[in-house]
Symmetry: C3
Subunit: 140 residues, 3 copies
């Protein structure tokens, strides 16, 4: 019999960077004890995103940060919306270029993340922020 | 008892730009009267995307447009597929860089959009187009 | 009565490029014989993505490849993580800029893909790889 659960978690960031939530998410999934199903995670913000990326070598995440800093530098003169500082609009652009929600199947009682896939909240603002995630879990 | 609903809506665009559909989507969700659930929206096109972004200062959307116009300018000599004009291939690239579907949990009878999150159809073609959205709603 | 099914498929790639999986996915959906529902596909890797894009003129996909090769060239001196070669980090960046999962409603017994929408595994590594996809299907 199919059932669903919803949940909310919040993450305190220390400013720009990656915050892994794989363990928290997997704990929520394993407590539901579904054999198969679907997990959806949504980040309720416009200047932080969700990224599924390599959780082995941390240099991958530093390189991602270098790439996005070059692609969309803080203080870019192109932008008019600078109310909250030089990282305000770049944070919106980075969010638009990535994702704010992901849906991952559950197979054999486990989240179907690949061997190297971790789930991260990617904080794009320089200052610390509290980020809220909404979770939906479906399964049986 | 879990139930689902599907629905289709279409949006007439006036050419490149953002068309907010948050209200229409929320109306569909509130009519279903689910306490909790999951809404999925899919745009059935390859030159328009769905974007969840700030719905307060409209300058944010104009800056997003400026950024994508610089990143992937119309008439770029890189492109061979120009059958439908200088904005044809840039529209496909912009779509690839953003998303064509989003899934948002429903918590406490409401779509878990953050305070500043609005849902937009982002028309990437210069000419007006009719854009079709497929909706799926799950909940109880 | 709502039901779900999960499934796993794997795709052998020949290296960088697009591998259409629309037919395989539609076969899985049609065998379930749901009138309406939701299909989710997740690629279990950090250097390959899922892309819904035009399946008519193949030049569109070649232009997408040209654009991403210019945006994020192999061997870019910006990157430190080069353990697996010059295409290693660009493959992670391309994956971050696109999507690793998609959710598509089923309406009128069919996947709600638009006329020109095909679903592709986008292999970002130069060498051949076996890519695993996890599928979740919900419906009735």
């Amino acid at each position: 019999m199919l059932r669903q659960q919803v949940h909310e978690i919040s993450i305190q960031t220390k400013g720009r960077g990656f915050y892994e939530v794989t363990d928290q998410i997997e704990r929520f999934v394993s407590e539901a004890a579904f054999t198969s199903g679907l997990l959806t995670v949504h980040v309720c913000h416009t200047s932080a995103s969700l990224l599924i990326q390599e959780n082995a070598d941390p240099e991958v995440r530093r390189d991602l940060e270098r790439f996005f800093a070059r692609l969309c530098p803080d203080g870019d003169r192109l932008f008019h919306h600078t109310a909250e500082g030089p990282d305000d609009m770049p944070a919106h652009v980075r969010t638009a270029l990535t994702c704010v929600n992901v849906s991952i199947p559950i197979l054999g009682s486990c989240l179907a993340l690949g061997t190297w896939q971790g789930l991260y909240v990617w904080e794009h603002r320089v200052a610390p922020h509290r980020r809220r995630l909404a979770l939906h879990l479906l399964g049986e």
